[in-house]
């Protein structure tokens, strides 16, 4: 039988506020346990929550960016359950009336087509603390630094049909929240994590199959692998006469499998009810307009502009707009150079990105800035150096040896464009390789490359490649 996979994702994006969603404690990551938990986060008697307006602004920005409805009135509710890292015995979340309702995100698929993924809702809530089960000799430790950290839970429709689509959606959303500056996107620290609801059904069937929820996937790779494993598991199970049960599963990255979290989640009744400590959240036009005004150019719009304004391919424009920082760097380079957008694109996407990756650096602390990069490209443009030599110069710039002109001078890399000088080198090469010359003239065209190589080598790469080409054709003919 042919099977169809149905996937919906619930993504928790930690909002990049300075303080917690209902208290003034810091949200900075990595502090010593329980040093960033105030009386409110600890759930001491008599304390009360006060909503962080910045978290609301960020939620509204996401809503506007995904074409959703930003609710004029939304309500915080209490989700009641006991757990040691949940200090109040309830989590403040939004239940019936979330702040963001009905949006969508367009993802690009491998075959070049695109697909619209519905977003059911996004709601504000507080994170719980962390239970630490190791290093306490049979006891558990509780770290409440994370308790009260603002989260935006973004719930998609079950619109994805493969693990690849799920990953494409997750990446697109990740790109968006980072663009918006509402989430640092750091998946290792748990700032952006995903629960995947996965089910399968016979192709053509309209009823949804029973789903399993895979919890806490914190990398794109894990999402893909976990979903793929889960699809396989469910199909095997059904085909061998079994039934999928609705349950929560955990992905084990070491074994590459999902397994049931039985016992933890047995039909919890969370007894949701509106939190009487918080008034309904009412947003007026001015607030929403301000959030709209704060929106940066969104990735899709920027990508389109790059193709139109700079004549780039859709692929190049896509790569360059992956992040705001990269796009800004590219545009700054073009501006500094005063044109040559394709040359700039090749360099920003090529060596520049490769060196960043190699050193695992952010653009912000790149040793070569846009002006410096443009200085290098200018020397390619005016044929002072060849593209090949430019790579050497770039490496030296990266190593902090100075700007392009200084390096070119110091190392004597200025390109040879004097025809007579190049002719002299060519003559020497031809004289030194009579055998190859004979073969070439006998019709072995492939040897042209050999001669180019020899000339470049003898000129230490400095001869202008185009001139070498043109002159060689003439000389070899004779």
């Amino acid at each position: 039988m042919e099977w169809e996979t149905v996937i919906g994702l619930e993504i928790h994006a930690q909002l990049a506020t300075k303080s917690k969603i209902f208290s003034g404690a810091s949200t900075a990551y990595g502090a010593a346990p329980n040093t960033q938990a105030c009386a409110i986060d600890l759930g001491l008697p008599g304390v009360l929550p006060v909503l962080n307006q910045d978290a609301v602004r960020m939620a509204a920005m996401l809503g506007l960016a995904i074409g959703a409805e930003v609710a004029r009135r939304s309500v915080f509710a209490r989700k009641n359950y006991f757990y040691p890292d949940l200090p109040k015995g309830y989590q403040i979340s939004q239940y019936e009336l979330p702040v963001v309702q009905k949006g969508q995100l367009t993802i690009d698929l491998d075959d070049g087509s695109s697909k619209v993924i519905g977003i059911t809702r996004a709601h504000l809530e507080e994170d719980a603390g962390k239970s630490l089960h190791e290093d306490f000799h049979g006891r558990s430790g509780i770290d409440l630094n994370r308790a009260g950290t603002p989260l935006l839970e973004i719930v998609s429709e079950p619109d994805m049909r493969s693990a690849k689509e799920a990953v494409a959606y997750m990446k697109k959303l990740h790109q968006l929240v980072v663009y918006l500056g509402i989430c640092d996107g750091n998946m290792q620290e748990g700032s952006f994590r995903c629960d995947a609801n996965v089910s399968v059904r016979p192709k053509g069937e309209s009823k949804l199959g029973t789903r399993a929820e895979i919890k806490n996937l914190n990398s794109f790779r894990f999402v893909e692998r976990a979903i793929e494993f889960e699809i396989e598991r469910q199909i095997d199970l059904i085909e061998s006469g079994g039934k999928v049960v609705q349950e929560t599963r955990l992905y084990d990255p070491d074994k590459g499998e999902t397994r049931s979290m039985r016992g933890k989640e047995e039909a919890n009744d969370y007894r949701y009810f509106p939190d009487p400590d918080l008034l309904p959240l009412v947003l007026d036009d001015a607030f929403i307009d301000a959030a709209r005004a704060a929106l940066p150019e969104l990735p899709d719009v920027k990508k389109q502009r790059f193709t139109a304004q700079y004549g780039l391919s859709a692929y190049d424009a896509g790569v360059l707009t992956t992040s705001r920082e990269l796009a800004d760097h590219y545009e700054a380079t073009v501006a500094a150079l005063g044109g040559e957008p394709k040359l700039c694109a090749n360099w920003v996407m090529g060596d520049f990105s490769a060196f960043l990756n190699k050193d695992n650096r952010d653009i912000a602390d790149s040793p070569v800035n846009a002006t410096q990069l443009a200085g290098l490209l200018r020397r390619i443009q005016d044929r002072t150096i060849s593209g090949k030599i430019a790579k050497e110069v770039f490496e030296a710039m990266w190593a902090g040896e100075g700007d392009a002109d200084a390096i070119i001078e110091k190392r004597g890399l200025r390109q040879i464009t004097d025809t007579s000088a190049i002719e002299k080198v060519i003559d020497d090469v031809i004289a030194a390789n009579p055998e190859q010359l004979a073969q070439y003239r006998a019709g072995k065209d492939k040897l042209f490359g050999f001669f180019v190589g020899q000339v470049m080598k003898l000129s230490k790469g400095k001869a202008n490649p185009q001139q070498v080409n043109d002159l060689l054709i003439e000389k070899l003919k004779a």
Binding site: A39, L42, G43, L44, P45, G46, V47, L48, P49, V50, L51, R78, N80, F82, P84, P87, K88, G89, Y90, I142, D269, R271, Y272, F273, P276, D277, L278, L279
Partner: protein, 484 residues
Amino acid sequence: MHEKTIAQLSAGLAAGEFSSEELTRAFLERVERFNPQLNAFITVTAEAALARARAADQRRHRGEAGPLTGVPIVHKDIFCTEGVRTSCGSRMLDRFVAPYDATVVEKLNTAGAVMLGKTNMDEFAMGSSNETSLYGPVHNPWDLAMVPGGSSGGSAAAVAARLAPGATGTDTGGSIRQPAALCGITGLKPTYGRVSRWGMIAYASSLDQGGPMARSAEDCALLLGAMAGFDPRDSTSADRPVPDYTALLDRPLDGLKIGLPKEYFGEGLDGAVAQVVEEAIAEYRKLGAETVEISLPNSRLAIPAYYVIAPAECSSNLARFDGVRYGHRCENPKDLLDLYTRSRGEGFGPEVTRRILVGTFALSAGYYDAYYLKAQQIRRLISDDFQRAFQQVDVIAGPTSPTVAFRLGEKVDDPITMYLSDIYTIAVNLAGLPGLSLPVGFAARLPVGLQLIGDYFAEDRLLHTAHRYQQATDWHLRAPAAFA
């Protein structure tokens, strides 16, 4: 000195007739002498009180004293006090010391009031007789065999027995007004949001409101002026200015329209109480007020709605007491579930447990609509009843409680009868309105309270209405013989 009202003590301090230290010492001596009979205090903070009194005297010397500077008061043990135990009358918090002051405490400290101690109360403010406290019942100063009312029974008894001239209380369904009535003092539950709930341990968050308890309306006005105001730490606190409650007290009552809800004078109201209340209303007519019969048709639904909403909120509010971070923890828990169930089972008394169970049930899937949502709808109907009435009248008056103080132990095993003790006060909380109880006479030698209900933020009108009555009568000055 103990016979004086806050207004008189304030004047005496200002005139230099006595120092705050002398005053504080005098009240502390009374506490030491009389509290054993009453059990009104959970904690007495004598040393700290004297230190504060001396500081208040110095402040006065510097010319920086306000009307409450140097005046001794007591706090219900539901308000968190930095460095001093806040027990909420429960084993759960028997050893809990908050690292912060409640806003109410902070404001009264700023005003220079001197805290003598923390008063006894029903456990987590759940009760109408002060019999659910871990620390034992409070006795009514008018008759030690009787309850003082609850849940702010310790505050009411302390003020009635002249162990303190003023106190703070909290009122979720009548917990300021009913004990004020049963102990013969004046108590005000302000409009929901008028007084900050920060640091006031929550019972039912949408109903809880702190307020003053004292001998006279004038004293309540002085206390409320210091307690009220917007607090950015409480999202439900009202961002509107606090009027000078004392400035408006002396206006005449001419033309005041008092509504008498017929539902408050029917079945269930004790005949002798009814008669005293009628006499008080007659007095109001003499003072120039006009009375009209009104109807609050949904009154009978108030108790059932309250006993869904309050327990529902309490079941969630009290979930934090789990033995994990603070509060009572059972010995040697064998696993997490055991830690939870035994810590909570041992930490909470039977009334609190009952309400947690009821509330948990009311919020459960499948019952939520039938109970919680329905109760919220009733709540709206009750508010609408009051709003209709206030189009017609300025103030609503009636008995505070259907009976005078009842015998200790009399209703402990009969929660439904106990709940009826708050039948006239609960609707006011559901609607979020201000309500005041003032002493208007005696039935069977026990005090009777008259309840005045005002429109939103009409505390000034209630205080003024009560004050004019107290100018014409002396019920509020009567002291129980044993504590005179």
